[in-house]
């Protein structure tokens, strides 16, 4: 347990809405070591954001942890009080959100919002906090920091706002940075800059990152490990190379197949993943991906697959792997 900075085991989390219990997370396990970058990949509704929010105790209202254990930096999150959580938020673990346009409070200056988190978690004076804020703005690549500190969010561009968010997140030198779709709302060129910035900062500060995205291109250059999520479950988990070059789960394969290839000279049809996302109010008994899977078998519809270890760091939850094992056993006996 101690070897991991983040250790989530068998997490189950549901939202108790008026319409019924939405089972958002259905047995999710993942871990991150110090200095590592984990990418969580999945569609909207797969539970990727929910997992990280639960780590920070930021689960939105009708949601509740229903099972599993969450460990972070020596803390047992399940049993921490709100007060204790407030001490580590923004301090040991920080998060940056998807939409920089709306994540900053429009009526306060940039300086105010950065100073706020510094003054909250440290004993610095206002002047010291301001100096630190200036430092941070330079660190994230914003020029004319003194001018920016006095400006309001609407006076900055999207890319700059996201940098400010990063500055706020790094202010107290957290061990873990959670980046929830940090570049989705930005232009592609800005996207590249932000990712570059995050890479640099990770090297400089030695912090861990959980990078949440639906974009495979983003994880390719940044992450050490990748967890692929679908319908509240981690369906495949492995190193970046393993996921990209030896994908094991049909969903992962589908995702990779659907990436259009810019180098194709001929006109080829795009290959989407057929079917519709799962209804989380009434999740099916079997593998959640089954109805959309081209290799779906009868057992996939009726029972949830187990995790099969494909290699040291690579696991996948798919009945096809069990089928292989089964066939090998049968052959062995024959």
């Amino acid at each position: 347990m101690k070897e991991y900075l983040v250790d989530i085991r068998n997490e189950r989390l549901s939202f108790f809405t008026p319409a019924g219990e939405v089972k958002a997370l259905n047995d999710v396990s993942l871990h991150v070591r110090e200095g590592e970058v984990l990418g969580i990949v999945g569609e909207s509704g797969s539970g990727k954001s929910v997992t990280s929010y639960s780590l920070m105790g930021l689960t939105a209202h009708p949601g509740r942890l229903v099972g599993g254990d969450l460990y972070f930096n020596g803390h047992y999150i399940n049993e921490m009080s709100e007060r204790e959580m407030q001490k580590i938020r923004g301090n040991e673990v920080s998060i940056i959100f998807q939409d920089p346009m709306t994540s900053l409070n429009p009526v306060f200056t940039i300086g105010n919002q950065i100073r706020e988190v510094i003054l909250l978690h440290t004993n610095k004076t206002r002047k010291e906090a301001n100096d630190r804020a200036r430092e941070l703005l330079q660190l994230v690549g914003i020029n004319e920091p003194d001018k920016r500190l006095k400006q309001y969010p609407h006076e900055l561009s999207g890319g700059m706002r996201q940098r400010v968010m990063i500055a706020i997140a790094l202010a107290c030198e957290p061990k873990l940075l959670i980046a929830d779709e940090p570049t989705t709302a930005l232009d592609v060129t800005i996207q590249a800059q932000i990712l570059e910035l995050m890479r640099d900062l990770k090297e400089k500060l030695g912090m861990s990152i959980i990078l949440i995205t639906h974009d495979l291109g983003v994880v390719a250059g940044m992450c050490d490990h990748i967890a692929v999520m679908y319908a509240g479950k981690v369906v495949e988990y492995g190193t970046t190379d393993e996921i990209f070059y030896q994908p094991s789960h049909e969903y992962t394969k589908g995702l990779l197949r659907s990436i259009p290839n810019l180098n194709e000279r001929e006109h080829k049809r795009l290959v989407p993943i057929e079917g519709l996302p799962v209804d989380m109010l009434n999740p099916p008994a079997g593998c959640p991906f089954a109805p959309r899977c081209r290799s779906c078998m009868k057992i996939c519809l009726s029972s949830m697959p187990n995790y099969t270890q494909v290699s040291d760091h690579h696991s996948s939850a798919c009945w096809l792997l069990d089928k292989e094992k089964f066939e090998r056993q049968a052959e062995g006996q024959a």
């Binding site: 709100e82 923004g90 309001y152 706020i168």
Partner: protein
């Protein structure tokens, strides 16, 4: 910014001018004109008015004379109250209404803002439902209903509170309550929906992610944003308080300007009607302009260069 202030005041001034002109011409639609010779008015007063506004001269000239005098605060003599100038009447009655109105505006804000916030924070629970019900009734019941029912219950039936005049602090309770009822309810509803809107915003999530407690994030981040729509309501609220005072002052027999307006209509005291209208209209229009300008200062998103 300065350009906006200028534009806003020009609009206000234009509107005042329009209202004053409309008032003048409307009063002249009455056969004989506003300064008609009535039996109840004294000879001297009649002569003075004729001379001042040039009754025999063409309408346009009368209009010009009247507007010029009005701009100096001179609205002529009252037709029904002997020897008093309209300006005198206004200056003696206005402070009463101002005090009453001022107290009720402050009260509405002091009660409405917290109440609305509490409702928003307890959304879906019984506190919220209760507050919504009270607030909805508050905006539905006409002011004269609140006044008369309140008067009946507390003044007549229970006999706890005085029903007329404004001599002791106790006398203020019923009129202020009646006048503040609608604005308080409106502000409560407004604050509630504004707060609900703000609480759902992303920057509130950011605030919590920084490690701020519920209290701080609400008081610092949410309130500051949620209160903006309420500021825009202050303008219309002042206008409402003005008109509401007509009913309240009539029912509770309070010697204020609203009541004066109504009674001068009943008694056909044209000069007073005109003077009061112009005065009140100017007041409301100017205050609205002021509130608009203040709002622009407060919301940094709308910084006009």
């Amino acid at each position: 910014m300065a350009k906006y202030i200028l534009k806003r005041f020009m609009l206000a001034a234009l509107t005042v001018f329009v209202v004053a002109s409309i008032t003048f011409f409307l009063m002249n639609m009455v056969p004989g004109g506003p300064f008609v010779a009535e039996k109840s008015i004294s000879e001297q007063a009649q002569a003075a008015l004729n001379e001042k506004f040039g009754m025999d001269k063409p309408l346009i000239v009368q209009y010009k004379n009247y507007m010029l005098s009005a701009a100096h605060g001179d609205f002529g003599l009252s037709l029904k109250q002997r020897g008093r100038t309209v300006a005198e009447i206004i200056t003696s009655k206005f402070p009463v209404s101002a005090r009453l109105g001022g107290i009720s505006v402050v009260l509405s804000l002091l009660i409405g803002i917290p109440l609305g916030s509490i409702a928003a924070l307890n959304r879906g629970r019984w506190v919220d439902d209760l507050i919504i019900v009270i607030a909805t009734c508050g905006i539905a019941f006409p002011s004269f209903v609140i006044c008369t029912v309140g008067l009946y219950i507390f003044g007549v039936y229970l006999g706890w509170l005085p029903t007329m005049g404004l001599t002791t602090p106790l006398h203020y309770i019923l009129p202020v309550f009646a006048l503040a009822f609608y604005p308080t309810a409106y502000i409560t509803r407004l604050m509630r929906s504004s707060m609900l809107d703000v609480i759902g915003q992303d920057y509130m999530r950011t605030a919590r992610a920084k490690g701020l407690s519920q209290h701080v994030s609400l008081f610092k981040h949410a309130l500051r944003n949620a209160i903006l729509p309420v500021i825009t309501y202050v303008g219309p609220m002042l206008a409402y308080t003005l008109t509401g005072s007509m009913v309240v002052e009539k029912i509770f027999v309070i010697p204020g300007l609203g009541g004066q307006f109504v009674s001068s209509i009943m008694t056909r005291d044209y000069t007073v009607i005109m003077g009061t209208t112009i005065f009140l209209a100017t007041l409301v229009i100017m205050m609205n302009a002021l509130v608009d300008i203040v709002y622009k200062f407060v919301d940094p998103r709308i910084q006009l260069k």
